[in-house]
Symmetry: C2
Subunit: 316 residues, 2 copies
Amino acid sequence: MQPTIREIYVARRRLSGVARRTPLERSGWLSAVAGCDVYLKLECWQRTRSFKVRGAYNAVASLGAEARAAGLVAASAGNHGQGVALAAAELGAKATIFVPASAPATKQSRIRALGAELRTVDGIYDDAEAAALAYAEEVGACFVHPFANPLVVAGQGTVGLEIVEDLPTLRSVVVPVGGGGLIAGIGTAVKATAGSVRVLGIQSDQTRAMHAAFEAGRPVDVPPGETLADGLAGGVDASSYERARAVTDEIGLVDEAAIAEAIRELYRREGVVAEGAGAVVVAAVLKGTFELEGPAVLVVSGGNIDAARLAGILGD
Amino acid sequence: MQPTIREIYVARRRLSGVARRTPLERSGWLSAVAGCDVYLKLECWQRTRSFKVRGAYNAVASLGAEARAAGLVAASAGNHGQGVALAAAELGAKATIFVPASAPATKQSRIRALGAELRTVDGIYDDAEAAALAYAEEVGACFVHPFANPLVVAGQGTVGLEIVEDLPTLRSVVVPVGGGGLIAGIGTAVKATAGSVRVLGIQSDQTRAMHAAFEAGRPVDVPPGETLADGLAGGVDASSYERARAVTDEIGLVDEAAIAEAIRELYRREGVVAEGAGAVVVAAVLKGTFELEGPAVLVVSGGNIDAARLAGILGD
């Protein structure tokens, strides 16, 4: 179930001309804080403003024409839904996206702007997923899972290829973890193509399902709390846990205050807007969560944060 | 005094590995507003978060080793200063940057973070320029003008090369205008490499020196007012006017309310943070300043806006 490095290279060919190669930019500020060279992988500047388009497009483009014609269904905290909506638009398919009603307004409106049908579901991500699965079965459409799909994981792994190509001397990479698709893909890519690289995962302590699974050695039920890192919501199943576990050296947690500080300072110092899920990697450096060996790369996974929420954080 | 297309290609070779090739991204939202295909050239994601690094680096790298060793001096509303500071850091030179004391805090702090010496001057850009010129003469350093230097204009022209390569069918390009270096460079590049392209300049009505010069047929003195487009401050001399005039088809004005709306909506709809000077092109579309023929490109020239100011605009 682990994607192979070959599958990640296949994903890259599919993504050519669709996903953008995002910048890897050295941060003088974070290098000084960490005491080693720190770079930002700016997936917040990806199309749809998150890495999710990579995995979603890879999965959708891999479907046969008949399967695509039956329509696509996804459940999403908001960014995977944009990825599936973009893939559907580019490939001429119909997409129906289920999101929790609490998903940020900006994510909801951009899913609609991409031409997908949006359905909001009361509750958390898991409730949206249940509704999406039921709907997909009912209408005979193809369900594209946000992380428990090896083609999605392979697509996310293309982030890792770009990092190693731009910084072959890489020693550490810090990756936001929700369902674990991004870290499984990046971990697979960097461990196959670079030397000894430590793969470090980071979560909000309010959405600590993967951290808890690492502690227990198996998925455990951890209900999510209120968090700025809404993009990291969602539980972890056995295969997703195994995929992440296989390539992750350490997983850490940051609290909400640290995430808010990371969003604010990342904008002030570097002119980069990250959503909470993307800022957890910066919070980990500011709080010294890991002993970082440089050069280190922080994957700023997305930038979709509502204007009012961003204004509140920047105005503090 | 007009840079040739050959000089712009020479600038591109110098900028290889220094300036980033920024994305050209279609905006569904602005295309619907304008009634034609509209693309954003995202120089707000350039290194130093503005196009200014292109011209500054081209000018500094063109200097002999002896001239560079004598030190660099610049006057700047804030973005050119970051460009010169970055060029100095990469080429091992010392830079002293003069800015008006009213320049945004984020621009001032990043000039310092790049290792340059920052000097603030009471008054407007012209006062900072006078102080910088006096200092450069006193210490025998090289003054790098933000727009009245053909090498700077040639560097800015590389934006135009990228636009035409990414969108060969281009019909219109909308460019923010302060001193006119960017529009002179882009206009020269697109008129030499594309078919019939209309080059449209846009200013805040609070910094309308170039607009006034176009009306009068010569530079006239127009004191700048308070504006969100602080990056467009500064007067216009005869050679800068002539360079811009030679390649510009039309120049328009937008007011401050339209600039604030453009900053807010560009973030809400597209997840892009532009400073006022970069957002004037979006304001022009929202207000219908020009009859746009598509495909059209809006050059979002920079993204350096203070956190508190951005928070105030996004929170409205």
